[in-house]
């Protein structure tokens, strides 16, 4: 016991513990926000469809979150006999963990960031690309033709949209001259990047929606055509992990949009955490609004839009940004 206390008192240990504490707090915050989104989404979709949505359990229906979680924890977690078991189990774990890793680079408030990597943006792009394995492996391991179709669609969609997602965000990187998200937030003290990088913002938002398989880019799940696509065979907590993973993805992409284009935690009067929450919340609402309002494009339209429209636009955006930066530089 005294040895433990001695170790705790030694220099260098306390910062590590504080760092771990912060990381766990952020992780819990993200997961709880993701769970809360179950209720937020159902409520908002209801309101936009002239209904009330779940408003019975607890105040404003907030108890619905607890009820849904309790339900999904205690549901029978059935693995069909025809699936490829190890991969079948692995896929939802990837789906959730990868999306939560993505949040590690987001600076929530000054000093609250799990990892201020000097390759922050690249880390996120790599992590988002890993996310496709969850869907692909899930679709493959399910041994079901609809799931496989969902997995295939997801792979193609990911390749298409990751490419111009990376290129769109490069505009910001060129302006700041750093991949670090801390630097990117600091550089927006005198003006958010949404103005000079408006095209980049639009493209990144589009790619972000596609990266989280949210409607209108939910072709991998496509309830109507593919019977829920890659997660047809999943039940219980494995399905729950896919489900929460998707919501965590929404939170992460919204947080990144805030950080990259809307000045992160910066803002007058209110404390940084409030600004961050407000901006991220606005993007989450936008995500849900997109789902409520827009129909799903056809598969070939999705591919066309990605390769023939968005990729050239992202390249033009990058070139123009670079040209302006070069022209402004003192010779």
């Amino acid at each position: 016991m005294s040895g433990l206390l001695h170790w705790l008192g030694s220099p260098g240990v306390l910062p590590v513990l504080v760092g771990i504490g912060k990381a766990i707090t952020l992780l819990l915050g993200v997961v709880l926000t993701g769970a809360l989104l179950i209720w937020v989404e159902r409520r908002l979709l209801g309101l936009w469809q002239d209904r009330w949505g779940p408003n019975r359990v607890g105040p404003l229906g907030l108890g619905q979150v607890v009820a849904d979680m309790v339900k999904i924890f205690f549901k029978e977690d059935w693995t069909p006999s025809f699936v490829d078991r190890p991969v079948f189990v692995l896929a939802p774990c990837i789906a959730l963990s990868v999306m939560m890793l993505g949040f590690a680079i987001v600076p929530v408030v000054p000093g609250w960031q799990v990892a201020d990597l000097n390759i922050g943006i690249l880390f996120f792009l790599a992590i988002a690309s890993l996310g496709v394995y969850a869907v692909m492996l899930g679709g493959w391991a399910s041994n079901n033709k609809y799931s496989l179709l969902g997995g295939l669609r997801s792979a193609a969609q990911m390749i298409t949209y990751e490419v111009f997602m990376g290129l769109a965000v490069m505009g910001v990187v060129v302006q700041v001259g750093s991949f670090k998200l801390g630097d990117i937030v600091a550089a927006q003290a005198n003006g958010w990047f949404v103005l000079p990088q408006f095209l980049g913002f639009l493209l990144f938002a589009l790619a972000g929606v596609a990266a989280t398989h949210r409607a209108p880019f939910d072709l991998p799940e496509a309830e109507q055509e593919l019977a829920a696509g890659f997660h047809t065979e999943y039940s219980g907590m494995k399905f729950g992990m896919f489900f929460v993973g998707e919501y965590v993805g929404v939170v992460v992409v919204s947080a990144l949009l805030t950080t990259l284009y809307f000045g992160g935690w910066q803002g007058p009067w209110l404390p940084p955490i409030v600004w961050f929450a407000l901006k991220t919340g606005a993007f989450i609402v936008l995500f849900i609004l997109l789902r409520a309002a827009l129909p799903r494009p056809r598969y070939d339209q999705l591919m066309d839009g990605g390769w023939k429209v968005c990729l050239p636009l992202a390249l033009i955006n990058l070139l123009v940004t670079a040209a302006v930066i070069l022209a402004r530089q003192p010779v």
Partner: protein, 178 residues
């Protein structure tokens, strides 16, 4: 190019319209607080009514049980001392009842009637089996003036044949002989 711009405009417009639905009137009727309107002929909970004198209308003819397509009605006929028929027990299993109203149509004495009430949920299925004490109400239901024994030719104690309302004495067929 024009088509693309038009498409973008159309999508943005639908986003705005959907968002504006936030303030629209909601179609949801919040049920336990706001009760929906039920028309008088709504086919809900089944009751057994009484005639204006306060006697049971049911004469245990079994027509409702025969008409019932799901066979949820069971009853046993018995008789009072004055000759009136009435059910010894009358049982409706509401876990089977489909509220089709055929029993009401079949009833010759307007005894069995469907009412505008559907709030009869139970946690235990057994509690959905209603006995006569649960079914029988003290009122006349939809037909306040109807009294079977006063208009029908049945002879009961104190009322021989032919003395009911709008009824002539039975014809003595033997007197009609030529």
């Amino acid at each position: 190019m024009l088509a693309i711009l038009r498409g973008i405009w159309s999508n943005l417009r639908s986003l705005v319209i959907i968002f504006a639905h936030l303030w629209r009137h909601k179609d949801t009727i919040e049920y336990p607080e706001v009760k929906p309107y039920l028309p008088p002929r709504y086919r809900g909970r089944i009751v057994l009514t009484r005639d204006p004198d306060g006697q049971e209308r049911c004469v245990a003819c079994n027509l409702c049980a025969v008409a019932c397509p799901v066979g949820c009605i069971a009853l046993q006929k018995t008789e009072t001392e004055d000759g009136r028929w009435y059910p010894e027990f009358f049982r409706i299993n509401f876990s089977r009842c489909i509220f089709c109203g055929l029993c009401e149509e079949a009833c010759p004495t307007n005894a069995i009637q469907l009412t505008p009430d559907f709030e009869m949920c139970e946690y235990d299925r057994q509690n959905l089996v209603y006995e006569k004490e649960h079914l029988l109400i003290s009122g006349t239901g939809k037909y306040p003036d109807y009294n079977f024994y006063r208009v029908a030719g049945m002879s009961i104690a104190g009322k021989p044949k032919g003395t009911a309302e709008h009824e002539a004495l039975p014809v003595d067929v033997k007197s009609l002989l030529p």
